[in-house]
């Protein structure tokens, strides 16, 4: 069972009062409790079960502009006391940093909590096994699926309390139901794997098992017997599961941490055209039941909706208290990063997008970590499908795609097929003229 608010409050009080007694001028604390249960199935047979019970506390103490933190999963009072003592000792000898402080009291969250982020539904292990077996059964009904890498179902429930010495104390429960199916296809000596994944706060919102299995199978089969293509400059279509990655890159490039340090290619681009004029990017924390929704960030600051890109122009950064002070801006509640981040729909349909050029390469997977936020260089391994005249022709693999994000962002066209499946979501994306490395 996850712990209730009273239990979390008791732990928070122990730490906050001891910190104060030992001379800290300010303190903030996060106490968390979560329980998750996961079932793994492979080749339609139970492969494993996993149950995790997690408790944790993170305490930050301040002495004026000095600061130090401790974290622990051992919530025995004697252990907590020892750790608080240690935190205070370290704090005293840590150099001052003029930007250290608790967040602005006026920005503390104090609204209604009506976003529906907790589904108390509990599935028995049998129900979880049945769900995931049904997904694998469906995948295996495709005769090119010969094996699975494992499929799983997970249920996570958590509760937390965030409190600070300025009087903030609030927390709430959240839930997450997750299922994935990863299958292996084989044909003519070629072996490929692919997956489908679903994750929602409410059990009723996740994909139906049959859909999960059939989509995974379809992905894996379509990758079979790939060709390697010649190096060339070609326009790319990014499948929705890849196009959303560009939003994550964008988000890290406009974090106030990177902006303050100058370690981003989007520094000094505020109020400038970063994307073409048809692109709008929003970050909304108040969508009911959505994966990325939250009431306040990890400092207790209420979430406001941000129009980050409007008609291609950069409107705002993602700001927390510490880095905000460095750039003379107030926090906009993004100490924990983005909430529900998405590109607004474009004006073209998917089919118009894939017919927009005679020859296009459809990217379904990228591998590697080839994104350089500092200068915008982008180079990753990829696989996908060649499209000619709107027809999907043959799979392509062992290629690289490369460009610079400054150019990539200016050359994006979006379809109108946005769905809110994850916390970061994008429609299908067309990027004009990227360099493919191949034969």
């Amino acid at each position: 069972m996850i712990k209730d608010q009273d239990y979390l409050k008791k732990i928070a009080d122990i730490c906050l009062s001891r910190s104060k007694k030992l001379g800290s001028t300010d303190a903030s604390i996060l106490v968390q409790s979560s329980v998750s249960e996961n079932i793994n199935v492979r080749n339609k047979k139970l492969d494993g079960s996993e149950r995790s019970e997690n408790l944790g506390v993170v305490l930050t103490t301040y002495l004026g502009k000095k600061k130090s933190s401790i974290a622990s999963s051992n919530l025995k009072e004697s252990n907590l006391n020892e750790l608080v003592d240690r935190c205070i000792e370290t704090m005293k000898i840590t150099p001052e940093d003029e930007y250290n402080s608790l967040p602005d009291k006026d920005l503390h969250f104090s609204g209604l909590k009506d976003l529906d982020l907790y589904d108390e539904t509990h599935l028995s292990n049998e129900d979880k096994i049945n769900y995931i077996k049904e997904a694998e059964d469906e995948a295996f009904s495709n005769n090119k699926i010969v094996n699975t890498n494992g499929s799983g179902f997970g249920e996570n429930k958590s509760n937390f309390l965030l409190a600070n010495s300025n009087g903030f104390a609030d927390g709430y429960k959240t839930s997450q139901f997750t299922a994935y199916c990863e299958v292996v296809s084989k044909s003519n000596g070629s072996m490929e794997r692919d997956y489908e994944y679903t994750s929602k706060r409410f059990y009723n919102d996740i994909l139906k098992p049959k859909d999960l299995g059939s989509i995974a199978a379809d992905h894996a089969v379509k990758k079979l017997n790939p060709k390697k293509i010649k190096s060339e400059k070609i326009s790319l279509i990014f499948d929705k599961r890849i196009s959303k990655n560009f939003l994550s890159i964008f988000a890290s490039a406009i974090s106030s941490n990177a902006i303050a340090k100058g370690t981003t290619f989007l520094k000094d681009k505020l109020n400038q055209k970063v994307f073409n004029t048809e692109i709008n990017i929003n970050d909304r924390g108040d969508i009911k039941k959505a994966n990325g929704s939250r009431y306040f960030d990890s400092e207790g600051i209420g979430i406001i909706n941000l129009d980050l890109i409007k008609n291609g122009i950069l409107q705002d950064y993602l700001i927390d208290t510490y880095n905000g002070k460095k750039i003379n801006r107030k926090s906009n509640g993004r100490a924990s990063g983005t909430t529900n981040l998405y590109f607004e729909n474009g004006s073209k349909t998917f089919s118009e997008l894939i017919k927009s050029e005679k020859k296009l390469l459809y990217i379904k997977e990228t591998i590697g970590h080839g994104t350089n936020i500092i200068n915008g260089d982008y180079s990753v391994g990829a696989s996908g499908i060649m499209i000619e005249n709107g027809e999907f022709l043959y799979p392509v693999s062992e290629i690289t795609i490369a460009g610079n994000l400054n150019n990539i962002f200016q050359n994006i066209t979006l379809a109108d097929d946005l769905e809110f499946n994850y916390s970061t979501n994008s429609p299908t994306m067309h990027v004009q003229g990227m360099i493919v490395g191949g034969k």
Binding site: R42, L46, D47, G48, S49, E50, R51, S52, E53, N54, L55, G56, K67, I70, A71, S72, S73, N74, N79, L83, T90, I93, T94, P95, D97, Y99, N147, N149, M191, E192, R193, K223, K228, S231, K233, K261, G262, T263, I367, G368, H369, G370, N372, I374, N375, D377, S379, V380, G381, S383, E398, I399, T400, A402, N404, I435, V436, G437, G438, K439
Partner: protein, 470 residues
Amino acid sequence: MTSLLKNSELSLEKADKIVSETLNSCDDGELYVEDTKSETIVLDDNKIKSSNYTSDLGYGFRAVTGDTVAYSHSNEISEKSLKNSSDNLKSTLKNNSGTYNSEIKKTNQKLYKDIDPIESKSMKSKIELLNNMNEYARSKDISVKQVTASLLAEKKNIEIIRSGGELLSDNRPLVRINMSVMVEKNGRKETGVYGIGGRQDYDEYLRNDNWKKVCDEAFRIANTNIESKHSPAGEMKVVLGPGWPAILIHEAVGHGLEGDFNRKKTSAFYDLVGKKVASKGVTIIDDGTIDNRRGSLNIDDEGTPTERTVLIEDGILKNFMQDRLNARLMNTKSTGNGRRESYKHVVMPRMRNTIMLGGTNTQEEMIKSVDKGIFAVSFGGGQVDITSGKFVFNCTEAYEIINGKVGAPIKGATLIGDGPSSLKEILMVGNDMMLDPGIGTCGKAGQGVPVGVGQPSLLINNMTVGGTQL
């Protein structure tokens, strides 16, 4: 021996009883208890940005029968909590029964000292070191615009309680010193990153002002990249430098030789034991027994002593890396590769220090033999798709080779290849085998574990380079 349970509400006797009673009818399993203390101090943007100390205590209780694994972990260490876990394990395995395999090799292996690297250096001197690193790096050149330096130390004590009361333990220190430098010149920005570490006290790595060399190296890489030109795209010959570039070996073949993927027949290598998978002269080992190395362990996380496992010998595939579960199902013995990130994670076969042994060629002759290609000296992260065998990694320092000579530095290229075929494309193996500086972390199924790599210079006939210049 005093158990990690000594200060908890759970006595060792009670724990023993619950473990034995739960695992009696299973093939394998154990109670794994872990007490980890870690400390991270970060200097960023001229300030000590954070000092975090973490104390984590918990257990993971595992029962295995056939190929089904039941796992339950918690950080509430009490009889009640362990009993709940036991009930949970039993309910998963209720339809199976097995015979407990109590055989486990003994060892007196001591590859690192039982030290506490957090306490053995004072907070004051750690802060002073970071400040010195910052000032020194910034003094290298006015083009240095940003410096991030960090110190990470950890002391992880583990205990494995097996059915029948057998108790195995290991105390594992680990430190890492990192430096990142950003250089800005003529409107361009580039970074250089370097680090060192292993299973000794900080001071062992700081002798003779060694921290200056860490700063020098980070600055050198950033400064090299500021002059870099766009990378070519397409297939070409690649010369790899010695040491850290062995993450190519780690990605290209290492993961594909882990027991689980081969037992499940999802690895591109699963039916290739005894077959030629690499050029003659290529020998690859996975060694958990090198003193003080980041990837070394006295025993793995199932209690099996680590060993030096020969994976590929003179081009022929010899062995996979095994944990107990996969070894049992494949009728072989564990190679001491059963590892987990923490008590919160299930054991899997994982690499330790993965090394290609040296050959006879010189780096000079490799470069001389290339008309058009690239010379890759250092890499960032890599990744592999086990099933298709395709792997990538990102160059953080590389140069073009033209007519047998090293030319201009090139920026941010990705290399992509096919694991099984790229090993056969190795044309020369260098005589300059080197281990990495002690910075690697390998990720698999969401779990990160410290690893090491090593290799000599290599000449690879043909790899795809992902750049922007056609």
